[in-house]
């Protein structure tokens, strides 16, 4: 382990003390930790909102909250989970792992890295504060369609717009940093096609972020101008068009959903080979599949709006391009299965989460295929079927992969093993909870229950009750995760450098926990070949 003891000379003896360590830090590991903790906090805030929604929907009729507040809850739950929980969690993983995985001493732009994190608490404080303002917070759905978000919006919408601007700036800076690190700071001798798949998926994700976050900034700027400066981008009275909003929004929105899933593909592609004790099957095809998915994400956006009155040619174009996405995604799923085929598998917590990811994400993919059929979508549109679909790809998809990544790398980050039995309990409760919550929503949607409503017809009562029970199981079992992480940091048993028997990759050649400054001298050719995929 040539890399273990690198802290001598040059005055860098480790982190500063106290709060300023976290405020001023430019260390990728510190910033990664900050991102991960922030996203965990947001996950619980968004989760409380989800439980408020589910509690209200436990029975038909209005019991807990008023419809106005219910609308704010659905809106904020979506915004917090997308922009506050899932995206920062992946940026945190990128910060922690990418420099180590490519053998770089730190991110390419450490000061900008600090800035992109510290924008986030301000952005989300501003966004959450709208809930306390007169007229309430955003109540127009996370997709903030005009004119609901312009003409009919509560006065707090301006704060929402600025919050979106800030988190957009943060994401773009984070993405630029990731690209610069990957392209400029790889260890000498590491070719692009030798990078770990997590690094590859993040490189592609970063380009998606740079391509679409500015479009999101553009669309909220148009809203701002419509609301305050008398323009009419989305106002038909002044010659604008509300359907334009949906086109511009989904031009951002569809790549955005891949921003939330591509790094998950990367995580799973790291974990499955480790616990199957085999190399990843079809490395090159994985890279090309990821790139194809990223490309296709730009030409499918209108499948979110089949019912706005598009001409037949448009419906067909977006229907077929959407179905086409199933091909590269299928390549990935089959590669994961082929990786496990005849491997000597063990089922530690990260592997369980990764396996659940493969199965449940595929279910979400299939319901996506059903939704991609334009004539069928006319029935499914804006029903709970859509809710079931995107929660299947986001919760047991993105969130499970983040959990898997956390358990997988936690011993490396902290130097301690987590409690395996508690991890497994967390997994099984989450797995059962997720399915009890979201599977009945398919049936509700097919039976015609609309989404974003606080009350519903009596025939939907039973499945809603089941879903609410599942949601509380899932929600409260996440506390086990927090407890496990705290125990792991404080008193877990010492982890080895390799941590897992089948682990490869440069990160496992560092000590656990890694030194504050790692790979100050680049890894040797020998280390690289040992780590190569």
């Amino acid at each position: 382990m040539a890399s273990v003891d690198q802290t001598m000379s040059d005055g860098h003896h480790g982190p500063a003390r106290g709060i300023t360590r976290w405020l001023y830090t430019t260390n990728h590991k510190d910033i990664g930790t900050l991102y991960l903790l922030f996203s965990l906090l947001m996950f619980f805030i968004g989760g409380c909102m989800a439980l408020t929604i589910r509690a209200e929907l436990f029975q038909p009729g209005l019991q807990m909250v008023m419809p106005e507040f219910f609308n704010q809850m659905t809106t904020m739950h979506g915004l917090i989970m997308v922009f506050g929980a899932v995206m920062p969690a992946f940026v945190g993983l990128a910060n922690w792992m990418i420099p180590i995985m490519v053998g770089a001493p730190d991110m390419a732009l450490p000061r900008m890295n600090n800035w992109s994190f510290w924008i986030l608490p301000f952005a989300f404080t501003m966004m959450l504060s709208t809930l306390l303002m007169e007229g309430g917070g955003p109540n127009f759905g996370w997709t903030f369609y005009a004119p609901l978000s312009t003409t009919y919006a509560p006065p707090s919408v301006t704060f929402f717009i600025f919050a979106v601007h800030m988190m957009g700036i943060s994401s773009i800076m984070g993405a630029i940093n990731v690209i610069a690190t990957i392209l400029n700071m790889r260890a000498p001798g590491m070719k692009l096609m030798q990078m770990p798949l997590f690094v590859w998926t993040w490189l592609i994700t970063a380009f998606l972020l740079i391509a679409v976050m500015p479009v999101l900034a553009g669309v909220v700027t148009m809203m701002l101008m419509d609301i305050h400066f008398g323009t009419s981008f989305f106002d038909a009275a002044g010659g604008g068009d509300p359907v334009l909003f949906q086109h511009v929004f989904w031009f951002f929105g569809h790549p955005e959903v891949y921003i939330m899933i591509l790094p998950a593909f990367g995580v799973v592609s790291e974990i499955i080979p480790t616990f199957a004790r085999k190399r990843l099957f079809g490395y090159a095809s994985m890279v090309y599949a990821t790139a194809s998915i990223a490309f296709l994400s730009f030409i499918v956006w209108a499948h979110h709006m089949f019912t706005v009155g598009m001409p037949l040619a448009g419906e067909l174009f977006f229907m077929f391009t959407t179905m086409l996405i199933a091909v590269p995604t299928g390549v990935k799923v089959f590669n994961w299965i082929a990786t496990m085929f005849r491997g000597s598998m063990t089922f530690e917590t990260p592997m369980l989460f990764a396996l659940a990811f493969v199965v449940l994400f595929t279910i979400g993919g299939f319901s996506g295929l059903m939704l991609s059929i334009a004539p069928a979508d006319f029935q499914y549109h804006d029903t709970y079927f859509v809710v079931a679909h995107f929660h299947y790809v986001l919760v047991p998809g993105s969130v499970f992969s983040i959990m898997a990544a956390a358990y997988y790398w936690l011993p490396k980050w902290t130097g301690h093993m987590y409690n395996e039995s508690m991890g497994k309990l967390h997994f099984w409760l989450s797995f059962i909870g997720v399915n009890i919550t979201f599977f009945p929503m398919h049936f509700l949607g097919l039976a015609g229950m609309p989404r974003r409503i606080p009350d519903y017809a009596l025939q939907f009562a039973d499945f809603n009750m089941v879903a609410t029970v599942g949601a509380f199981i899932f929600g409260f079992s996440q506390l086990l995760f927090v407890y496990n992480v705290v125990c792991c940091i404080r008193s877990g048993k010492q982890a080895t450098d390799e941590v897992w028997e089948g682990s490869r990759g440069l990160e496992w050649q560092l000590s656990s926990p890694p030194p504050y400054h790692s790979y100050s001298t680049p890894p040797t050719a020998e280390q690289l070949s040992k780590a190569s995929h």
Binding site: G218, A237, V243, H247, V248
Partner: protein, 191 residues
């Protein structure tokens, strides 16, 4: 490949440029969307206005043209077509009108925005003269017939036998008040 920060500069410049370009592209989508809709006739957005040379009337076909009037929210005017439906031959010039009454006690200005369904028919419905071309000032209590002169193109696809022309009436008094004549230039696109 350990690099000093200055070596990141070319890449950073390119990535920042990409960010700025994509921000601009977001705004470029606005005119692109209008152009796209006008070329393809989607969304009923067609500017088939002005004089049309009358080619022969096709008496073999009869097309039903239905008229719909919708008030935008907060628009108090009574607004209705004089004739709810007309049967026309393709190529034939027809004249009809919409009747508006301003029941309020103040001077108001309205503007009607048309939409054609099915959108495929939009480019075949030529409005030679339409009240929607200009804004409509009405004194308190005044009633007016707003004229509409149109023709259906003989090239209308065979399978279309009914065209619905819908007008949504907007209250543009606040915008028109300073100088009612300024409005045509102000509004982003005249219909």
């Amino acid at each position: 490949m350990q690099q000093s920060p200055s070596n990141h500069r070319p890449l950073l410049l390119r990535l920042t440029l990409l960010t700025v370009l994509m921000f601009g592209f977001g705004f470029l989508l606005v005119p692109l969307y209008d152009v796209f809709c006008q070329i393809t006739g989607l969304n009923g957005k067609v500017l088939n206005t002005g004089p049309v040379t009358e080619v022969g009337v096709d008496t073999e076909r009869r097309i039903r043209v239905q008229f719909i009037a919708v008030n935008n929210e907060a628009m108090p005017w009574q607004f209705a077509p004089v004739e709810r439906e007309l049967t026309v031959y393709p190529g034939e010039m027809k004249h009809t009108a919409y009747r508006v009454t301003n029941p309020s006690v103040r001077f108001m200005v309205g503007q009607a925005v048309p939409s054609v369904a099915p959108s495929e028919a939009a480019e075949y419905l030529h409005k030679v003269n339409c009240f929607c071309f200009e804004n409509q000032p009405l004194q308190a209590g005044e009633t007016k017939d707003m004229p509409l002169l149109f023709t259906v193109d003989a090239a209308l696809p065979e399978h279309i036998s009914t065209i619905t022309l819908s007008y949504t009436l907007f209250d543009i008094t606040p915008k028109a008040q300073p100088a009612a004549t300024r409005l045509p230039k102000d509004s982003r696109r005249m219909l």
